[in-house]
């Protein structure tokens, strides 16, 4: 008890002694950016500490990944940041993913647990609608309300109307607002902005700029994710369900359609009962897809009938509801074989249905790390 009080009391003093502190905020790509930045700082002579949360939480100390144990059924506490900090202190550079999902707790992580010199906003996407807001402007506002005092806010979001909201909040905490430019050809692809954010941070801190080969490698490791996977059972597929939000899913689906102009697509959507906001948002997604290239849509899981009732026209014609069973998976794979459609999964990845489908299409994929950039 006394030790815990002392740890809390002493934390800020130790935190202040870390030379560079970066809090990675935003919706998508936070973990990948932490890993990339940790590697860049390390290659520039810093002793480093990074912390990543999400499906596979881990701390990184000087390039070594240490999993963070989680107790099943126990809520995840922000105090985890304090414990991990003490495990690996001291270091020169600290890059922490802001794991919070409400404006207040986002602020707690920034203001109390990281006290960043640089706040990063990777992007603004629709997710956690019940706490961050249902539309993009609300999400931007929620992220902005979580800003703490900092020198710079580096932003990877490209939409001007959202950046004007973020800039207002950045100015409110006395920070310079710096938007990175992403080339038109790859704009919007999940993860691409991370390379340009990392490059800008190196420049802003007066460190060696990212070398062309460093940028090239990082970009390549992102773009290689947006290729079709050929399974051993003769089906092409893409794990779009890992993207979670509808904006990213739309952009990637369009990119894949442009990249493979001769292929037809089959969308397989799984909806979870504990993610109603995401299910609702997917009704909008179906209104905006390129129908000519989508030959079949399968809706599975809690709320599939809700989505089916709300889609219109040809989307309704090609949509089918399937029960959450292994037989449905067999049916999907058989149809993909017969028609040559690419299976493009959407919705939610973390559930038995998607896990089974993924395991059949590509055995072993569940073991891969969810971040784009691996440690060197």
């Amino acid at each position: 008890m006394l030790r815990s009080i002392w740890m809390r009391f002493n934390y800020t003093r130790l935190l202040d002694s870390v030379r560079v502190r970066i809090a990675v905020n935003g919706v998508r790509g936070k973990s990948s950016l932490v890993v990339l930045l940790e590697r860049l700082f390390r290659s520039r002579g810093f002793t480093t500490y990074g912390k990543v949360t999400g499906e596979n939480p881990f701390s990184i100390k000087d390039g070594v990944f240490y999993p963070i144990p989680r107790m099943e059924g126990f809520p995840i506490s922000l105090d985890e940041n304090i414990c991990e900090f003490y495990k690996y202190f001291p270091f020169d550079a600290m890059i922490v993913e802001n794991q919070a999902i409400t404006p207040y707790t986002i602020r707690v992580v920034n203001e109390l647990l990281v006290k960043p010199h640089i706040i990063v906003v990777t992007n603004v996407r629709r997710d956690h609608g019940d706490s961050l807001g249902w539309d993009l402007r609300s999400v931007a506002r929620s992220l902005g309300r979580g800003f703490s005092r900092a020198s710079i806010v580096v932003c990877g979001e490209q939409r001007v109307e959202l950046n004007s909201i973020l800039e207002r909040y950045a100015r409110g905490v006395g920070a310079l607002f710096d938007v990175v430019e992403v080339p038109e050809a790859v704009r919007g692809l999940p993860g691409v902005e991370l390379v340009f954010i990392a490059s800008r941070i190196m420049d802003r801190l007066g460190l060696d700029s990212m070398k062309p080969y460093e940028e090239g490698e990082a970009l390549e490791s992102i773009l290689k994710h947006f290729t079709l996977r050929e399974s051993s059972i003769g089906v092409s597929w893409f794990p779009g369900a890992k993207l979670n939000d509808i904006d990213s899913t739309s952009i990637v689906l369009k990119y894949m359609m442009d990249r493979y102009p001769s292929r037809g697509f089959m969308l397989v959507a799984y909806f979870r009962s504990d993610r109603p906001s995401r299910t609702i948002s997917f009704t909008e997604f179906f209104d905006n897809i390129d129908l000519d290239r989508v030959g079949r849509i399968y809706l599975v899981g809690f709320g599939a009938d809700y989505v089916y009732r709300r889609v219109k026209g040809r989307v309704r014609e090609v949509s089918r509801i399937l029960p959450d069973s292994t037989k449905s998976i067999e049916q999907i794979i058989q149809e993909a074989r017969d028609t040559g459609y690419v299976i493009f999964t959407i919705g939610n990845q973390v559930n038995n249905f998607m896990r089974t489908l993924t395991a059949i299409l590509e055995p072993g994929i569940e073991k891969t790390v969810t971040t784009i950039f691996k440690s060197n």
Binding site: I5, R8, F9, G146, G172
Partner: protein, 145 residues
């Protein structure tokens, strides 16, 4: 108009004001039930109302110390501030002869936490004060109808 009716009306007006403030500013301001309650007590016993605001200020300072110094946040901070508020309020009420009003001894703590919860202290404090003064003025008019 009876004080019960005035309180009910102030709660409704306070709710509308809170909704307007949240829509325009995106911030909360002190509380939906608590501010009308302080306004009503101020109408009945002006010096007691002032005491409550003084305790709100003390609780806010305590909340910031617990937040920044001991990294308390969220539910734990809320409970700590309310507990601190009770410890401060009850002796103050005894000393100043307001011991009948124990029932609202946690209200200043809730208001202080709500002000802490918002990012911009001065703006939130001004909004809270503006809401309080509006309700106070309205309550005064209603009581004297």
């Amino acid at each position: 108009m009876s004080i019960e009716v005035v309180y009910a009306l102030l709660v409704i007006v306070g709710l509308i004001l809170e909704w307007v403030i949240y829509s325009v500013e995106g911030d909360r301001s002190g509380g939906i039930v608590t501010i009308p309650l302080i306004a009503v007590y101020t109408l009945l016993y002006p010096s007691f109302g002032l005491l409550l605001w003084f305790i709100v200020s003390v609780c806010y300072i305590a909340a910031e110390i617990m937040y920044r110094g001991f990294l308390l946040y969220g539910r734990r901070l809320f409970l700590a501030v309310v507990a601190f508020c009770i410890v401060v309020t009850i002796p103050s009420m005894f000393l100043l002869g307001f011991e009948r009003f124990f029932v609202i001894s946690i209200v200043p703590g809730i208001v202080a936490y709500n002000i802490h919860y918002e990012r911009r202290f001065s703006r939130t404090f001004m909004l809270t004060l503006a809401k309080y003064l509006t309700l106070l003025g309205l309550g005064y008019l209603l009581l004297n109808l």
